[in-house]
């Protein structure tokens, strides 16, 4: 994957003839146009729009920074920010660790390994909103499979209100989110592990390092770039999570699982105040960029670029 960052073109026909540039844009133009239409214009629109009072039911007027003021002054922003942070802090490490564990389990050949890999991929292949619905069936207070199972096993004597108790609803959301995300982490980390030359493990074994020590000395350093990529990606996912939570809890009970994306949604399409929604979107985008830039600064450069293969 490290090669993704290397952009030298393959051989064939040395350096720029003008016809080449025209032809290249003829070939790449369609893709560029679609991406540009849905990137440059929306971002510009969001930044400008966040300075206006924008609503389908009100006349448009310039509002300066008052949308931003409104958000920072709203107690709901604080709640949503906290909930998002809690969910991110719970899910990201869990996804990365579980993904790592599964990748380690699957990195050695065993009978039925392919079947296990395909089965584990399943949560990732279905829509996140559908995943939310499915987990609702597991956690539902009155008829969920979890309550029924715990009751049958004699572990609880009264059904637990998983989805209507704020703390438990956050726990349920975290579990469902981890379920939806760990397959991708596992597959990407597995890919990185399989790229490690076998000789390195043989050499480690000759030095008397097996099991955990080989993992620490050989595996970890080699999958570090991928660990970074997976972690950054999962942070982005956690900060913008929406579908699954929408279907599982609808942001409730109360505001217990109202994350920032859900707040944007409610502000824009329930309150119909687009300007505030855009300002909120700009804040979230800024937040993600700052967080990711900070993390990338913290990482040693080699971790990002990799050593190549």
């Amino acid at each position: 994957m490290a090669r993704a960052l290397e952009l030298r073109p393959g051989r064939i026909r040395p350096a720029g003839r003008r016809t080449d540039t025209a032809m290249a844009y003829a070939l790449a133009g369609g893709a560029l146009a679609v991406v540009a239409l849905f990137t440059i214009y929306p971002v510009g629109y969001a930044l400008v729009g966040s300075l206006y009072t924008l609503s389908p039911i009100l006349p448009r007027s310039f509002a300066g920074l008052s949308n931003y003021g409104l958000i920072f002054g709203s107690p709901y922003f604080g709640f949503a920010l906290r909930t998002t942070a809690v969910l991110a802090l719970a899910t990201v490490p869990a996804v990365v660790l579980l993904g790592l564990l599964v990748a380690v389990l699957l990195s050695r050949p065993f009978r039925g390994a392919t079947l296990v890999k395909v089965v584990i991929l399943l949560p990732w292949t279905i829509p996140a909103a559908t995943g939310g619905v499915m987990w609702k069936g597991v956690f539902a207070d009155a008829w969920g499979a979890l309550n029924a199972t715990l009751y049958e096993l004699g572990l609880v004597h009264n059904y637990v209100a998983w989805l209507t108790t704020p703390r438990l609803a956050i726990l349920a959301t975290t579990i469902a989110q981890v379920w939806a995300q760990f397959p991708l982490a596992a597959v990407l980390l597995l890919a990185a592990m399989q790229a490690i030359p076998g000789e390195l493990y043989e050499a480690a074994a000759l030095d008397g390092a097996g099991g955990l020590r080989a993992f620490a000395a050989v595996t970890l350093p080699h999958i570090q770039p991928m660990l970074v990529v997976v972690t950054l990606f999962e942070i982005l996912v956690a900060l913008t999570a929406f579908d699954l939570i929408f279907a599982l809890t609808g942001g409730g009970p109360g505001t217990a699982t109202t994350v920032l994306s859900y707040f944007i949604w409610a502000e824009s399409f329930k309150m119909l105040s687009f300007g505030t929604g855009l300002a909120l979107a700009a804040i979230i985008a800024g937040l993600s960029f700052v967080l990711i830039a900070a993390l990338m600064r913290l990482m040693p450069r080699e971790a990002l670029v990799g050593e190549g293969r």
Binding site: A4, L7, P9, G10, I12, G16, D20, T21, M23, A24, L27, A28, G30, A31, L32, V34, V35, L37, F38, P42, V43, L98, L101, V102, L105, V116, K117, V118, L121, L122, P123, T125, I126, T130, G131, G132, V133, M134, W135, K136, A142, A145, Y151, W179, P183, V187, L190, A191, L236, T240, F242, F246, G250, W265, F274, A281, I284, A285, S288, R309
Partner: protein, 294 residues
């Protein structure tokens, strides 16, 4: 060979636990789709006491109300037509996802070829632009997307969704195809060029046939993303006839008149394509990534 404890017990145990975690919600949904509602509402539940029934599926397909609803007592007697929209929604999702897949190939393959093989002004900048475009959080784009689609007059049209999903998947498609195209030996193309073949001809006759696995992989990826996408689908599709699966399911699941058993039958129908596609996805896309073929 001596087999340590962890290999005999811990390892299979851990694998089984992970599989159970991945599969449990699926198993529960599939099972409850075949149960009458009363079976899950008693405390303690007696899931299998009332036998396995097909009423829920029959209702979705034919509209015949399940027998359980015609009995009084503790049973709920309201039922919603909404769940019957699920097969239609699955069809809508499939059409949109196929459109996205095709557009990804049509736009992505030529672009990837240009980035993989040609030298031109603005090459690096535009490539970074395409790949970095996905770093913008989707929720931040919701309102502008809605307004663009409205201005194009495409609200409630599937084409709108195809365009949006293509914009979301193209960066990944282009990136993967560039990596793959560059593994194809350049000599073949060079000799074709000496024979007077143009770039589009080389792309169509030589590169695309050789890159078939990566085309299948990226195509499936685009298909799955489009099939699953929820936020923008909810935004641009208003009417029940055009809605895609994630939107319909989310709406059905919050409808108090739809029982869990009925919803489960609908959900089972909804995840069926994913269950069927997971093998080819593994075969053509993930395995390629995992074995380092990319």
């Amino acid at each position: 060979m001596r087999r340590p404890v962890w290999e005999r017990i811990v390892f299979p145990g851990a694998v089984a636990a992970v599989m159970l975690f991945a599969l449990a919600p699926f198993l529960w949904v599939i099972l409850s789709g075949f149960l009458p509602e009363v079976a899950i509402l008693t405390v303690p539940p007696e899931w299998l006491k009332y036998g396995v029934i097909l009423d829920n599926y029959r209702y979705i397909v034919t509209g015949e109300v399940p027998r359980a609803y015609q009995v009084g007592g503790v049973l709920r007697r309201m039922i919603s037509e909404e769940v019957r929209a699920v097969p239609r929604a699955a069809l809508n999702s499939t059409l949109v996802a196929l459109g996205t897949l095709l557009l990804n190939w049509i736009l992505g393959a030529p672009a990837a070829y240009a980035y993989a093989r040609m030298r031109f002004a603005g090459r690096v900048a535009t490539f970074y632009f395409i790949t970095a475009s996905r770093l913008i959080p989707a929720a931040a784009l919701a309102i502008p997307y809605y307004l663009i689609i409205k201005q194009l007059g495409l609200l409630d049209h599937h084409l709108a969704l195809i365009l949006i999903h293509t914009a979301l998947t193209l960066p990944f498609t282009v990136l993967i195809l560039v990596l793959y195209f560059r593994t194809i030996p350049a000599e073949i193309e060079e000799s074709a060029q000496l024979d007077g073949a143009t770039r589009p001809m080389i792309l169509r006759r030589i590169v695309l046939p050789l890159a078939l696995p990566s085309l299948v992989g990226t195509g499936l990826f685009a298909f799955m993303l489009s099939y699953s996408e929820f936020l923008f689908s909810m935004l641009v599709l208003g009417s029940p006839q055009t809605r895609t699966l994630p939107v319909t399911l989310a709406s059905v699941s919050t409808n108090p008149d739809v029982t869990w058993t009925l919803l489960s039958a609908g959900t089972t129908l909804a995840v069926l394509p994913a269950l069927l596609l997971v093998w080819p996805i593994w075969r053509y896309m993930v395995r390629g990534l995992v074995t380092g073929a990319v």
